[in-house]
């Protein structure tokens, strides 16, 4: 019983990890608390839904499209709406991202309605055994893909010129400027990367679970917790945070009933804020 629970928790946590990293990067580095992040995630789900319905494309493949489209959307939104208003302070950016959420939510409602949607994959039912537990194949695949994507993000940040540029800006904005790095461009790419990760998560999510606009709000609640647990802008921190949240939710559902999930999550978040505002991992930005 415990093993099954643990496996469920980890598989869920992997998805949460990928989801949380995007939000954490946007908040920690670009300085934007993106209240439309939930909308971006499920937009990714709907994109995969359409590719599945129209072209029978497996979401594991169409997720590339989700990622690309959400990257572009993120870049456009950041450049036109957020960048000009950052100096206005948190009130402006918060309410602005909320406005974006409203608009995206409305579009989703109009096009796809509020009904829950699913992508029915032929191999949806298969699972394999691990000890006493059953591991659903799709969840396992999604977990692996999420892990690969997280690692790729890490490599991007550590090894590519742009990634290093983003890190530099995150650590010392003036210093980065002094060496000729285009700071605004780094913030832009980082933000767009965040929404891309959201979209990718959405596609992976769609392969396993059903989705609807109802998930919008709760997703934001979850990524808040993950970002704070892991320390803003910290990739591996967010990954750990995602896993922790997966475990907390799964265990919480078993021991307390799923209704208390949100309350538990919130209490954890506020507690971490008060005792370790830099997250459980401390102050370092990456790795």
């Amino acid at each position: 019983m415990e093993l099954q629970m643990l496996i469920n928790a980890i598989l869920l946590g992997g998805l949460y990890a990928l989801m949380g990293i995007g939000f954490s990067l946007q908040w920690g580095i670009s300085g934007i608390i993106n209240l439309s992040y939930g909308a971006m995630v499920i937009l990714g789900s709907y994109i995969s839904l359409e590719f599945f319905n129209l072209f029978h494309l497996d979401p594991f493949i169409s997720m590339i499209m989700s990622g690309a489209i959400l990257f572009v959307i993120g870049a456009a939104v950041y450049r036109t709406l957020l960048q000009p208003l950052i100096k206005g302070g948190i009130v402006f950016t918060l309410i602005l991202t909320f406005a974006i959420r409203l608009i995206v939510e409305n579009i989703i409602l109009k096009v796809w309605s509020a009904d829950y949607r699913t992508i029915r994959l032929t191999y949806a039912g298969s699972n394999f055994q691990f000890g006493d537990a059953y591991v659903p194949l799709i969840k396992f695949l999604a977990f692996i893909v999420a892990g690969i994507l997280i690692y790729l993000t890490y490599l991007f940040m550590m090894k590519t010129k742009t990634g290093k540029g983003i890190q530099a800006v995150a650590l010392d904005k003036e210093g980065a400027q002094a060496v000729g790095i285009d700071v605004e461009k780094m913030y832009l790419i980082n933000f767009a990367l965040g929404t891309a990760l959201a979209g990718l998560t959405g596609s992976l999510w769609a392969s396993i679970y059903s989705f609807s606009p109802h998930l919008l709000g709760p997703i934001v609640g979850k990524v808040f917790i993950i970002a704070i647990l892991g320390g803003l802008g910290n990739i591996w921190g967010a990954a750990a945070g995602g896993l922790l949240l997966g475990i907390a939710e799964t265990a919480g559902a078993v021991f307390f009933g799923s209704e208390w999930q949100e309350a538990i999550g919130m209490v954890i978040m506020v507690s971490v804020l008060l005792w370790r505002p830099y997250g459980l991992m401390g102050k370092k930005f990456f790795g």
């Binding site: 709406l81 009130v91 939510e105 309350a263």
Partner: protein, 320 residues
Amino acid sequence: MFNNKQVNIFLIIVGIIIFIFLPRFLSGYWVRVITTIFMYAVISQGMNLMSGYMGYLPFGNAMFFGVGAYVTAIGMSKGLSFLAVLPLATLTAILVSILFGLPVLRLRGHYFAIATIGMSGALLSVVQNATEITGGAMGTTLPIIDKSPEVTYNYFYLAMLALMVITSLTVYLVIKSKLGFGIRSIKANEEAANSMGINTTYHKVIAWAISALFTSIAGALYAYWMSFIGPDEVFDIMIAVNTIVIMLIGGAGSVLGPILGAFVISLLSEVVWSTFLEYHLAVLGITIIIIVFFVPKGITGTITDLIKKRELRLRKKVSV
């Protein structure tokens, strides 16, 4: 507003009198709409004190609205009269603000805002789950007032109007007082404020307690008015979003702002709901974007700027 204090006082009194007699000329529907406007003005004044004047945005401030509503509901279901429960409701809200305020107000900007959202969400969950006490997710009822609908909604109209006037007056007096300068200094430069002998923790907690006080009374009145409340309704994040938009369009950092903003936003919503029902979310979103880009200082802020520019121009003319 205008420079002459007596003119301002006169205008305000005239305004209040007009509002008192307005229901005679309006349908029940509009009386209820304006009552809601008054209510939002009250909540926005509370937010504005914290955010516009002190620079701390309590995104989850609506939790005090919910606390006020639920304590009232629970109290009245035990047989207490409204006037007996009201002090209990406000006291509970103030206690929450102080208890949570002491640790949470230490957090900087972003973190404080998020923490309040967390608190609000947690309270919502608690209310949803403590079904025996609160009626759970399905909501709870309050005693219905034994009068005709017309008398009832006129009663609540006047009650909310009175609350709005008292709240606005209180905020005005606080801002002009020594306490107000302490509060404003925190937004201006918190480190400097500390070095000048201002006990910033004390000021932050007091400001939040005042904010909680009035917001909870609004919640209490709302619950009594509606006779039925549900957790999603009174702890709704949209309450916070609406008050922020009201603050923005009215102009943060002014006492008139929240009132103006409440009117503008409500009237806008009425128009949007009747014309764009299916797109009301998107229209609200676009409206927010327009406000933030073109009227970032809100109505009062933009007017103040225009007046200053005019004064500068006149001064230049005189010196030349």
